[in-house]
């Protein structure tokens, strides 16, 4: 039986003026899911529900079968979050940021972080505030990989990455999720990469999920 990493079970909620309605999907281990929709469709709201400490929705969100809200912030050990929203210390280097934050994780592999930074060709000695957007996303990805999450949540990560590296990035991602038996939930405005790289697609329209299923060519026509 497939191991389900992420499950949204009739999730409904109001976030500011926005209403998310009855979101249902299950994402198994080893697969990547693209969350697609126009601006204001609810993609960021889904991610906020996943990452926030307080439960501001009805329904259940489960990570690896466990309702994430009941475990407080412990579930964040299992989530690798990569986003512009994820703030690190701007005046510290990549290494210093790691030294500050790694102890909060149960299992942080410093060597793996170093190797990942080398693979992605970003120097950990560079000040975080001086990194370009693409470099910051790579740093966050390396940081996430180092604490062995079950779920990677990537919010508009590849915007700002050079096109050549983008191909390598997805290769790295596929290898990581197969090796770690993890899953990826990703938002992106770059249709070509969603079309090529995602195993599952969830389409959001005005707070409702109008489609969830395997990635098919017909979706992109």
């Amino acid at each position: 039986m497939e191991r389900i990493i992420l499950e949204f079970d009739h999730v409904t909620g109001i976030f500011g003026r926005f209403r998310l309605q009855d979101i249902n999907f299950s994402l198994p281990a080893g697969y990547m899911m693209g969350l697609v929709g126009a601006n204001g469709a609810g993609k960021t709201t889904c991610i906020k529900y996943l990452m926030q400490e307080k439960k501001r929705y009805d329904g259940l969100i489960r990570i690896d079968g466990v309702e994430h809200y009941t475990h407080g912030t412990a579930f964040r050990n299992q989530v690798g979050f990569v986003s512009e929203d994820n703030a690190f210390f701007e005046e510290r280097t990549g290494s210093q940021n790691v030294d500050l934050m790694r102890n909060f994780y149960d299992d942080f592999d410093r060597e793996l972080f170093g190797n990942a930074m080398e693979t992605m060709k970003v120097s950990a000695a560079k000040t975080y505030g001086k990194m370009s957007r693409g470099e910051r996303m790579k740093f966050q990805m390396a940081f996430a990989m180092a604490h062995h999450p079950l779920l990677y949540v990537l919010d508009e990560v590849t915007a700002g990455m050079d096109p050549v590296f983008r191909i390598d990035f997805f290769k790295i991602l596929h290898e990581v999720i197969k090796k770690q038996e993890a899953a990826v939930l990703m938002t992106s405005h770059i249709d070509s990469e969603l079309k090529k790289q995602m195993d599952y697609i969830g389409i959001l329209e005005q707070g409702k999920m109008t489609y969830f299923g395997e990635n098919r060519d017909q979706l992109w026509e």
Binding site: H71, F81, D85, E91
Partner: protein, 180 residues
């Protein structure tokens, strides 16, 4: 997660926060400035509590004195807590919650850590005020009254402690964290 598990987890996270702040403040120059300012205000405020309360009547000047002493302690405590609640980046003060919001550490743990720091300082200051008040009064007046105890406890500990505590609670629980 049951109540005991949550309690254990909070204690564990408080220990991690101790380590986190120790590393953070090694590099933060503004922490030194804040603690220097806090030291001056808290020293002056505490010293004023050594004046026997018998010296104060009920006139408006004395009442202003009470307010000043309490205010000095309150501002001193706020400055003392600044390095634990905020960080300076690009010459702007930002809430530390912005950096901690997506880490596996709860607001409850952060609040517990910060309030522990605050109340420890309040207790130390209160003890110094109480001992000083009683000692100076005993030497000057050869007697102690109830007000010699209540004066530092209420105005020296309770009022500034509660006021600073409210600021800490607000800074953790109501911090605007997400940029979007």
């Amino acid at each position: 997660m049951d109540k005991n598990e949550r309690k254990d987890r909070t204690r564990g996270q408080v220990r991690l926060l101790q380590e986190f702040y120790k590393n953070l403040q090694t590099w933060e120059v503004s922490s030194v400035g804040a603690w220097l300012g806090a030291g001056i205000l808290l020293s002056v405020g505490t010293a004023l509590f050594w004046i026997p309360s018998q010296e104060y009547g009920g006139d408006s000047l004395d009442q202003m004195m009470y307010v000043l002493m309490t205010y000095l302690l309150w501002i001193g405590l706020v400055l003392y807590m600044n390095p634990y609640t905020t960080i300076t980046e690009e010459r702007k003060r930002k809430s530390i919650m912005e950096k901690l919001q997506y880490l596996p550490v709860s607001r409850r743990s952060i609040l517990r850590f910060q309030l522990k720091k605050l109340f420890r300082m309040v207790l130390i200051l209160g003890t110094v005020q109480l001992v000083g008040q009683c000692a100076v009064t005993a030497i000057a007046y050869r007697r102690l009254e109830l007000r010699n105890l209540l004066f530092p406890i209420l105005l020296g500990m309770l009022v500034p402690g509660v006021m600073s505590g409210l600021i800490v609670v607000t800074s953790v629980m109501c911090a605007k964290t997400s940029k979007s």
